[in-house]
Symmetry: C2
Subunit: 328 residues, 2 copies
DNA sequence: TTGCATAGTGTACACGTTTACATTATGGGA
DNA sequence: TCCCATAATGTAAACGTGTACACTATGCAA
């Protein structure tokens, strides 16, 4: 693999200085003679020249890369958010580096270091874990953006997400209004603010009158299956289950299917996120719809306007709605 | 945001030269006095220094970024492959930039230019489209890797994927062996080699005896729904449908559900890929299982051994199997 | 003619690294 | 004592780009 041509090669071939070639590729064409423009263009094409983003980044002390850290890239909701972010960033000339923290604090910190090494334009954290390194970075620079899980109290930084409390509350109210008995919450890990807010909202929505069975659970199908199996061991009741996200709900569903239970006759399942496949594969799932594809534009705008504003605490709250399906 | 400390700042604070600091961060610690190591380490920590990957890339004329181009990031199989690749690359110190071509040749070429600008260590193309630019790049450099869709005949480059023909063939045989009548193939776009190989394999598996109804269809749920609705307008027969991938199968499923059809009594659906959610949400779907999470390691190895070998035409064929579910 | 504005282009430096090579200090063998 | 190997460190030159500044040529007004 021959090494790629540089701006100097193009300059030489087109008989101008590197400054002029640079001007051409940075769009300052109004200051170049039309004839020269054509020379440069054809020389570049002949050589197959593409400006080095590395050289450019070094010179400008800023890259065009945005790093996004997610807890679980195989979560369907996360994948859609990532696709949305990638698309929105492309619109403003940025690239997305996707990385998986696997809900592991050490990995997160390592990836934060990597992102810093890349001199990322912005670092988007979905489901951030509160670590000293994270706090330090939030203080030192202002290019952190939090998604869906609010940073710990001490950290101020832009945030994009839904009102988790209100979402949970809406489900709780729905349960009450429809007279569901035997309410169950399979909530996410309690130490994650977003997760506990959903639970708190749900409990508030249900109110004091009804008791709520609670299970704690990772945000995965396998974990949901496990908790669901535990719950459904007792088949004497018709439970109404609120799952902290749809992945958990899928797990509960499988546990129910294995027991030949019908939905909603024998069991009611609610979720959170409303993954895109629900419309096709999960007609039994009523769930809080979060507009996954609105995250990208919101994040892109936060990144774009960042230089202009000094407000490090901007917040975008996206609207949610309840998607009622035949489970209800 | 104060600009980040450089290697010079660390050198100054620890009272050594930049060379020594560099040696520390590139792991050449055996050539440094233990006391000096400690000085550098603490100075770097105090300043919060992280080596600039940009400066490093410039110096070494090679970045640690791998760009992966996918036709549709919201395809569940694609998302799992991407997660797998990201994870495997992390293991060898590389980052993944994910980008979406949306099956659009112009976008693909633009993204190829971006990848070249980033001086990507490797460019992974899932579902590549045959364009002049792609051919040119394949000739000029040898860092292209193709996934799941073989490059056009003229292009030699490493490839990772399954034997699409054999996969389709296995389904065709299964149809015959189980005596399915009214065979249907909803195949992917005919101009994609991977897609047409699946179809050819299926037709070969079914053999001459049975006629096969064919529909051409994009690899999406919506497209599958559309074709499925067309097909199921005629309810007089019990069709056995082979879909070119699972997303299409989901669409057909929805069309069937809207008509209150039962599977497998009224309709048989086969897919391709075996997305992870199938196990949880699609017990009705029998499908060719492709090991999504084996792609990452295979690709990482191809990238890693690339410098060592001159064989630009290495090929990794991953095994598939038929996952039989209650549809069959 | 001179003076001056302007269009077009070039020169040269900085950005943050890595590393070949040079340099110094130290210790051991002759 | 001198020589040399070795350990530890420093010097300096790239890598590819953008841009401030300098410079030349041209046209126009006075």
């Amino acid at each position: 693999m021959a090494k790629p041509p540089t701006i100097r090669d193009v300059a030489r071939l087109s008989g101008v200085s590197t400054a002029t070639v640079s001007r051409f590729f940075t769009g300052k064409t109004s200051a170049i003679a039309p004839e020269t423009i054509e020379n440069v263009r054809s020389a570049a094409e002949e050589l197959g020249y593409t400006p080095s983003e590395i050289g450019r980044s070094l010179r400008l002390a800023s890259s065009r890369v945005v790093v996004m850290l997610v807890p679980d890239a195989t979560n369907l909701f996360t994948a859609d958010v990532a696709a949305s972010v990638e698309n929105a960033l492309k619109g403003i000339g940025l690239s997305l580096v996707l990385a998986n923290t696997a809900e592991n604090a050490e990995k997160q910190d390592g990836l934060l270091a990597d992102a810093q090494g890349l001199r990322a334009r912005a670092i988007v954290l979905q489901g951030a874990m509160d670590t000293p390194r994270l706090r330090e970075m939030a203080e030192r620079q202002n290019n952190l953006i939090f998604v869906n899980r609010r940073p710990a109290p001490g950290i101020v930084a832009p945030y994009v997400g839904v009102d988790n409390f209100a979402g949970g509350f809406a489900v709780g109210r729905y349960f009450i209004e429809h007279g569901y008995e035997n309410c169950v919450a399979i909530h996410g890990p309690r130490h994650y603010p977003g997760s506990s807010r959903r639970l708190e909202g749900f409990l508030a929505g249900v109110g004091e009158m009804r008791q709520v069975l609670r299970f704690e659970c990772a945000f995965t199908m396998a974990a949901g299956y496990q908790q669901g199996s535990l719950l459904l061991a007792d088949r004497s009741r018709r439970y109404a289950v609120f799952c902290a996200n749809d992945m958990i709900a899928y797990g509960v569903y499988r546990a129910a299917m294995e027991r030949n239970m019908r939905i909603p006759e024998d069991l009611i399942i609610f979720g959170f996120d409303d993954n895109r496949v629900n419309e096709w594969l999960a007609p039994w799932l009523t769930t809080v719809k979060v507009p996954a594809f609105d995250f990208g534009p919101a994040i892109a705008e936060l990144i774009n306007e960042a230089p202009a504003t000094n407000d490090h605490n901007r917040t975008v709250i996206l609207p949610f709605s309840l998607t009622i399906r035949q489970s209800a």
